[in-house]
């Protein structure tokens, strides 16, 4: 089920196109990453989803409710953090949560206690927010996003200020919510390794345009269709390289042997072919192409990476 559906979203601020015709979806039980260099339009997109910005063109639907025409119903299904988790410093963490809770129907004290327990803030929740560290604010920020059991979570850089254990806990929490409760998570971050570890799918945005969409863990089913880098160690590397060149694939000579980028499903046929041609194969090494490499290789295409 599509929890978030963005279609043809364009945002113009002061005559400048910040977002240009963006479309994306987040399904139930899915963690979707939103990746891009600074100033690419990540936060703008999230502000548009959460109703802080007005849409110039296009539409956003949350659980089928258009956020312009049916704002309250749309917002009732989404929780989130935008930029820093700025809480009311004059109040305690609990008072902040109670204040936000008052704007939803049917959130009682028990719900709040449970959420506080979940983000492991029970000990400090009755202290004033001004005494909190950034990480603690982040935890309360996550708590307020989860208060009303939203079906969609929209998180803007949620790992900011969290320690490694906190990051791990958040990752586990999000995975749990997605897999067990069917929550859809839309998460922006610049920590690529983080994204890789928790996302099912990522969108890459640059200069207000989505320039790529990657599926990361496909649980084996479609592994065959993935592209990997293979290194062939053979008794005749020169002939091997010539063979791959003839196939017009992306290949080069390396110290260990011939490196080639290939779809996995091609491999059995190629190996058989090489063997048939009398080339002895010592080993074929399959190398995972990381998200980071992809990300950099895609975004370096844009000239003004940092604006």
């Amino acid at each position: 089920m599509e929890l978030l559906k963005i279609q043809g979203l364009t945002k113009i601020i002061k005559k400048k196109k910040i977002l240009d015709n963006i479309s994306l979806t987040v399904n139930s039980g899915e963690i979707v990453g939103f990746l891009g260099p600074n100033g690419a339009g990540k936060t703008t997109t999230i502000k548009l989803i959460m109703g802080l910005f007005h849409i110039t063109e296009g539409e956003i639907k949350i659980c089928g409710h258009d956020i312009v025409t049916d704002f309250e119903a749309a917002m009732a299904n989404v929780g989130g953090i935008i930029e820093n988790p700025d809480l009311y410093r004059r109040m305690t963490g609990r008072e902040n949560l109670e204040y936000f809770a008052s704007m939803y129907d049917n959130i009682d004290k028990k719900n709040i206690d449970d959420i506080v327990e979940l983000v492991k803030m029970s000990e400090r929740i009755d202290d004033k927010v001004k005494t909190y560290s950034l990480g603690m604010c982040q935890r309360v920020g996550i708590a307020q996003a989860l208060l009303h059991n939203p079906r969609l979570l929209v998180l803007d850089e949620p790992t900011n200020g969290l320690d490694p254990i906190g990051i791990k806990e958040l990752r586990d929490l999000l995975k749990y919510l997605a897999k067990e409760a069917g929550v859809g998570v839309f998460i922006s971050s610049h920590l690529l390794s983080e994204m890789e570890l928790m996302c099912d799918r990522i969108y890459i945005i640059d200069e207000g345009v989505i320039i790529g969409e990657k599926t990361i863990h496909d649980n084996g089913e479609s592994q065959e269709e993935l592209i990997f880098e293979y290194t062939f160690a053979t008794d005749d590397n020169v002939r091997t390289l010539a063979y791959f060149n003839k196939l017009q694939t992306n290949c080069r000579m390396e110290k260990e042997g011939v490196a080639v980028v290939m779809k996995r499903s091609e491999m059995p046929r190629l190996i058989k072919d090489l063997v048939d041609q009398g080339i002895g194969i010592y080993a074929v090494n399959e190398k995972h192409r990381t998200l980071e490499q992809d990300f950099i290789s895609i975004t370096t295409g844009s000239k003004k990476q940092i604006r």
Binding site: K47, L52, D86, Y99, S102, M103
Partner: protein
């Protein structure tokens, strides 16, 4: 219902700010603290001796005798009791300084013998002063209070002492007697001769008898403290004045026939005399009769006396107030300068006359009912409560603080982002915050005013609240008089708040949103102060400037009052409606900007 709950949540959220909570409490507590301070200050003043000793200027006789001022004063600082004919007069006696002054005067005369042509004249003057001292000593013996009504008799009849002295010394040479007496009386020789010397012995005796009779009557009133007799004497005195004035009118009419060229000037004098007679006949004597009838003893510090003197004063004013014709008005340059146009002048004068009539009505009704209007109990709780309507401005400043803080602080702290992602429309969120802060201000205002009302009652007596106020349309209970004014003053608070709130939304900076309305408020006061002193600025009456402080329509000595007296047509109803409309416009602007805007820091 949900919305009301939201307002409640917002109020609680405001009060979580320790700063605002403390200021709110201070604002509320001030309504109790201020009257208590006033009460304590008044107690202290009273224990200082209240009215204290009234120290009149020394009686120095004619101006030329004041050769050296230093002689007379320093020795007067001594306050030892004076003993005259076995009567001891202490320094707190109302006649002490008077008698003391006369004795100093005797000393001065003895030291400066060359002042008179003859030693015989000197002796005459000294014995005249002795007579005067004896006369005052008699009053001093019976009168101990400065407020005693009989004191007036002493001042009014001292002339009789001099006259009696003249009649009794008819054996002295005329010129010497004149020199001696004119030291005290200020006479011209012709009148002196005509009035006191050129008399047949019978006439002289008759006059002397009458004087003695009068003085005896006065002595009797003083000695017996006989109030009805006092009134009779006073009426007698006033009637004497009337016949005196009538004589003068006859003399002046005679003079017109002889000198027709001076008719205009003489006529003016006659007019004046006639008016004085009218004043005595229609105001002074009826008031005295009313005093007798209601046993209102003059001089005492009672509301009845205040009411009576207020009636008297306003009737006098009314007698001398007339609206001159347009032709005459244009001739009077300073009127034209002061009022600008004849229309405005007529309006101002008419308002003045209405005010006099109204004041007279209030005084009469109070006396008639035996229940004072609050006007005559100036330090009573009713007046204090009305004056405390100024409190609305204090609360308005607090409302400005709340309004300016409300939205701008959300932007400044970034909390607006977590707020706006809730399933509530922007209109609902903004209105909840608007109404929460406004409600809080108004609750503080109402509670503060209530606390003040009660505190005033406790400190100065609740009974005052039970007396009615008198208006043209009838008597009204004090609360019926007070509550509409209390509510009218909330308009100032609402307006100040709406402006600050709008700035808070537009500028997104707490300091600016709070400072600008306060600066504007001060600016309005400056404009008001300016138009108080320069006329002909009618247009100001149509701006919100005179109305920002609604309470100044109800409290004393405000610039609005002065401006009204200048004939600038301020209308309270118009002002209230204007402020409410402007508040609505400000709120509408806040709302439409807030709805349309992208939320950025």
């Amino acid at each position: 219902m949900k919305f009301l709950r939201q307002i409640n949540v917002e109020i609680k959220s405001i009060l979580k700010s320790r700063f605002l909570l403390i200021i709110g409490i201070l604002v509320m507590v001030s309504s109790v603290v201020l009257p208590v301070i006033g009460f304590i200050a008044e107690q202290n003043r009273n224990s200082d001796g209240g009215g204290g000793i009234v120290r009149p200027l020394p009686i120095t006789g004619p101006a030329y005798s004041v050769v050296d001022i230093d002689i007379a004063y320093p020795e007067m600082s001594g306050q030892e009791p004076i003993v005259i004919d076995g009567i001891t007069i202490t320094a707190d006696n109302p006649f002490y300084w008077n008698i003391n002054g006369l004795m100093q005067e005797k000393d001065n005369i003895e030291m400066d013998k060359g002042r008179f042509s003859d030693l015989e004249v000197l002796d005459l003057v000294l014995s005249l002063i002795d007579e005067e001292i004896k006369y005052y000593a008699l009053f001093a013996q019976h009168i101990a209070e400065h407020t005693d009504y009989r004191i007036e008799l002493a001042w009014n009849s001292s002339q009789k002492i001099y006259e009696k002295f003249i009649y009794e010394h008819n054996d002295i040479a005329e010129d010497k007697l004149f020199e001696a007496v004119s030291y005290k009386m200020g006479l011209d020789p012709d009148t002196f001769k005509e009035k006191y010397i050129d008399l047949t012995p019978e006439q002289r005796l008759e006059a002397l008898d009458k004087l003695e009779e009068d003085l005896n009557a006065i002595n009797k009133v003083v000695a017996d403290n006989d109030f009805p007799q006092y009134i009779n004497l006073r009426i007698q005195q006033e009637e004497d004045r009337i016949s005196d004035f009538k004589e003068q009118i006859a003399i002046h009419e005679e003079a017109i026939i002889q000198n027709p060229s001076q008719e205009e000037g003489l006529n003016a004098i006659i007019e004046d005399l006639k008016r004085s007679i009218e004043m005595i006949e229609t105001i002074t004597i009826p008031t005295l009769q009313l005093r007798l009838e209601r046993n209102i003893i003059p001089g005492e510090d009672t509301w009845e006396n205040r009411a009576l003197s207020d009636i008297e004063m306003n009737r006098n004013q009314l007698l001398y107030t007339e609206i001159i014709s347009e032709e005459e008005f244009n001739k009077e340059r300073h009127y034209v300068l002061q009022y600008g146009s004849y229309d405005k002048y007529v309006r101002a004068m008419q308002a003045q006359i209405d005010e006099y009539n109204n004041a007279i009505m209030i005084g009469e009704k109070s006396i008639e009912a035996g229940k004072p209007d609050m006007k005559f109990v100036p330090k009573g709780p009713r007046n204090r409560t009305i004056e405390f309507l100024r409190y609305s401005i204090f609360v308005a400043m607090f409302a400005v603080l709340l309004g300016g803080w409300s939205i701008a602080s959300e932007f400044q702290h970034g909390t607006i982002r977590l707020l706006m992602i809730r399933p509530k429309t922007r209109t609902k969120i903004l209105m909840a915050k608007f109404l929460a802060a406004l409600t809080l201000s108004l609750v503080i205002y109402m509670l503060g005013s209530l606390l003040n009302l009660i505190t005033n009652g406790i400190l100065f007596g609740f009974s005052d609240y039970a007396y009615p106020n008198y208006t043209i349309s009838g008597d009204i209970n004090f609360f019926a008089y007070y509550v509409p004014k209390l509510l009218a003053c909330t308009v100032s608070i609402i307006f100040a708040f709406a402006v600050a709130f709008m700035l808070s939304v537009i500028i997104k900076n707490v300091a600016v949103a709070v400072a600008v309305p306060i600066a504007c408020f001060i600016g309005c006061n400056i404009v008001m102060a300016t138009i108080t002193y320069s006329g002909a600025m009618n247009w100001v009456a149509y701006t919100p400037i005179p109305y920002v402080q609604i309470s100044s329509f109800f409290t004393q000595n405000t610039m609005v009052r002065y401006v009204l007296q200048r004939g600038i047509p301020l209308s309270l109803t118009y002002g209230i409606i204007l402020l409410l409309v402007l508040s609505a416009i400000c709120t509408f602007i806040s709302l439409s900007i807030f709805k349309r805007r992208d939320i950025t820091d």
